[in-house]
Every structure is written in structure tokens, then in C-alpha cells.
Symmetry: C2
Subunit: 240 residues, 2 copies
DNA sequence: GCTGATTTATTTGTCAGACATTTATCAAGC
DNA sequence: GCTTGATAAATGTCTGACAAATAAATCAGC
């Protein structure tokens, strides 16, 4: 009556197994936020392994921001409250690598991004605050500058779209979209932006801001749709 | 000896600094998929640290699925091709913890989930394949069973919605949505589902499947909107 | 010459013990 | 009362060693 019916292949890697144990305890709530784990020596005794092995396990968890460590007396490993900032970072790293390593096409990534972004637009139109509009307007100004490198233009584009997402006022949405928006940047960096194409994009950005200011989700949506197809065609000007 | 002027301001936590270095190299493409890293001993010499320190760094990267390791001659650490499966897993873990540790309200998470899901609906209506419809229909059947626990009902609900997302035929969307959908499960598990409420939900699910079958994005969207508001009210029956 | 078993070399996985560094706590001295 | 120093606890790091896995080289046998 053992649980060897579980499909989980018990890792022969002790540090991976220990990390998995502790991770499960955190996810299941048996270890709560800010709770202190036993010291490395105690964990070593508990799992009957050496301290370096325990440390490797803890580093794995630290890499996922599940724990944080503190040195000194009354230090140790603590269950970490995963902040939005940390979650953003991991989300962006994972998304970026997923796209680049699997040869995801520009079209696929672009479609996903604009689909998700359109989902935010109605909420953004309803809740946008002055600072969101100001942030977006500032990026438009930056994008209009002459002599801006393609890379800088892309970075500003990303910042614009992140501000748009943030305007929806839903931190969970912002978190989910962070990956989609940021991971697009490397792909968009491969495009050459002519003066005219920049002007078109900037014009659409302005339409988006205006639509949000007037709380018109329809105008915002149509601008996004146009921006999507324009961006797609930029990448494959001779397609079809 | 030019690099002794390398005052990188993170001398604490050498293993974190080394992991960061290697991670940057992978993201920047200086290390490509399936490329073998130097052995632990070589890395130790290269970074002028001990092998355990290098190992801790490598374990951090392994925790993010950035590398995989192999024992034996011609073994070592290899840059890992991040698979969608692995990315799903990390996304789900991070999202679940983010919601539970930050006390994200049901409404907020629910709003994000349905907003994102509505973004998938038009694509799903266009591209859904028979197996997607079959998978969704199978979950509806499961949900209709009597004596089903609330937890099992929720699990089936999640499976239904993931099938809906997959029907959009965009792996990047599926990846992004995996977190949003799965992370909702713990929150939805806290709801008690009466027979009547289950019937309402199942009815809406059926409407969604029918709409997809008929390739009607409008019907699908309206069903999703209704499902959203119904779910929200289930959680706070006396609100407003 | 070729096949198959054996040895060898390389590399990760694990262990033990030690020292360095950081930090909270507490006691001593002014 | 406040500062200051000693103390203890914990993580961070190092050294050296052995175990285990695995691919390549070697060698015996035909």
C-alpha cells in the first residue's frame, strides 16, 4: 500500500527530491509566508543528507523566489512572499526563452500578444488613471524623436504597451501580460523601422491613448486591431 | 589583467552571481541550445571559486529549467531547450503562489481569467478541431455526474477551460493562459457548488461548445460573459 | 579483421569537516 | 541609560575525498 502508484518519478537527485518536498509543503500551505525553515544543519539531519546537498536544494528554491535566506544569528531560510516584481521577472525570463528556443514565429507571438492586449483594453478604458495616460503619452513623445535607434524605439514600444496593460488596474492581468509583451521585444528588434512605419505606429498609439482618454473601448479596440495587422505586415511585407 | 577592475556590486552570494552570469549568456544567445557548459571543475577555475559554489549556481539554473545535467563521461551541464510542458509547470507554480501569497481577491483573479479567456474565444471559434470539442464535451459529461465532489468538479472545470484555450491553436496563448486558469483552482475550490449552480455552469459550458462548433465567436463571447458574472456572484451571493 | 567484454577516464553526485562572515543578543563599563 | 565588546548561531565558502554513472578506449577471442 505504498504510493509507488504515483507517476512522479522519484528523483534520484537527492537535492531535487528535497527541494520538491519543501516546494510541495509551501504550495500546500504547510509552510506559510515568512515562516522560518529549520537551519541547514537541522534539515540535513532531518533528511539524512549532508549540508551541501541541503544547500543545493535551498538554492533551487531560492531560484524560484520561493524562499529567501538571511545570514547571521536568527537568520536562515524563510518562506518568501512572492512579490509581483519577482513574478514579473520570472515570467519574462521564461517567456523570452520559450519563444527564442522554440523558434516561435513572429506571427504566432504577435497574435498572442495582441489577443491578450485587446482583452485588457475595455478594462483600461474604464479605469485608466491620469498617470497611465501620461506615461503612454510620454512614450509616444519618445518614439517621435529623430535619430532614435530601432532598439530604443522597440523598448519604448514595450513600455507603452505595458502602461496600457497596467491601465486596466488588475495586477494579475499585468503580471500575465508582462511575459507576453516583454518576450516580444527580441522578435520586434529584428524589424527595421522606417520613418514612415514609425509614424504609422505612433499615430495608432495616439489613437489608443485618445480612445482611453475618452473611455471608448471600441475605438481602442479598432486601433489595436489595426496595429496588429500593420505590425504583422511589417514583418512580412510580401506575404500572401 | 584588465578584469580586476570588475567591481560588480554583488560579491555576496557568489553562486547567485555566477548563475546570473550564465543565465545572461543563455538569454543573450552566447550559449545556444544543447551546448555543453564547461565541467564544474573548469567553471570553478574560470570563476575562481570552489566546486560546491559552482554547483549551487548550476542548481539554480536547473530549477529554472535553463540547463539539464548528465552524469558520466561526456556528461555535464547542457543548455536546455525549454519545452512548453516545463514552461507550463513553472508558470502554474508561480501564478498559484502569487495569488495565494498576496491574498488576491476572487474577483480580481476571476476578472483576469475571463478577460484573457475572452481573448482566446474568437480564435478558438475559428480554428477549433474536433478533438478540442470532444475534450470539452467529455468534461461536460464528467461535470454532470451525480456525487461528484466540489474539488473534482473544479478540476474538470479547469480542464474544460484549458481545452477551450488550446482550441485557439496558439501555443503561446496556451502557455500564457495556463497560469491564469490553473491558478484559479484553489480559489474556486473554496466555493460550494449546489446542484443548481452546477447545472447553470454546465449549461453555459454547453453553450460555449455549441458556439465553437458553429464557429460563432459572438455566442461564445456572450456565454463567457454570463459565466463570468455568474461565477462572480456565486462567490459573493449577497454583494452589491 | 571483427565482435564483444573489460578496463579506463571523465564527470556529476554526495559526504565530512573546517573556516570566514554576518548578525542578533546579552553583558560589562562608562 | 547608552555605548561597546564578547558571544553564539547561522549562512557562505573552501578543501579534499569517494561513489556512481557513462562514454570511449582497450583487449581477448574467434
Amino acid at each position: 500500500m505504498s504510493d509507488n502508484s504515483k507517476p512522479r518519478p522519484r528523483p534520484t537527485d537527492l537535492s531535487a527530491a528535497i527541494a520538491s518536498d519543501i516546494r510541495d509543503a509551501i504550495i500546500a500551505g504547510r509552510l506559510i509566508v515568512d515562516e522560518r525553515l529549520p537551519s541547514e544543519a537541522e534539515l540535513a539531519a532531518q533528511f539524512e543528507v549532508s549540508r551541501p546537498t541541503v544547500r543545493e536544494a535551498l538554492k533551487r528554491l531560492a531560484a524560484q523566489s520561493l524562499i529567501r535566506t538571511q545570514r547571521g544569528a536568527s537568520g536562515g531560510a524563510f518562506v518568501n512572499r512572492l512579490s509581483y516584481e519577482q513574478a514579473y521577472g520570472q515570467q519574462i525570463t521564461t517567456s523570452t526563452l520559450l519563444l527564442s528556443m522554440n523558434g516561435v514565429s513572429f506571427d504566432t507571438a504577435c497574435e498572442a500578444r495582441f489577443a491578450l492586449e485587446r482583452a485588457c483594453a475595455p478594462l483600461a478604458a474604464e479605469r485608466r488613471q491620469p498617470d497611465h495616460l501620461a506615461a503612454m503619452q510620454a512614450e509616444i513623445t519618445r518614439q517621435s524623436a529623430t535619430g532614435l535607434s530601432d532598439e530604443a524605439f522597440c523598448a519604448s514600444d514595450v513600455a507603452f504597451h505595458r502602461a496600457l496593460v497596467d491601465a486596466a488596474g488588475n495586477p494579475v492581468l499585468s503580471y500575465q501580460l508582462a511575459g507576453a509583451v516583454e518576450a516580444m521585444q527580441p522578435l520586434m528588434n529584428m524589424i527595421t523601422y522606417t520613418r514612415r512605419s514609425r509614424d504609422v505606429i505612433i499615430g495608432l498609439h495616439q489613437r489608443i491613448v485618445d480612445a482611453l482618454e475618452q473611455k471608448s473601448p471600441e475605438d481602442c479596440d479598432s486601433a489595436l486591431v489595426e496595429l496588429h495587422s500593420y505590425t504583422r505586415d511589417l514583418n512580412q511585407p510580401t506575404a500572401r
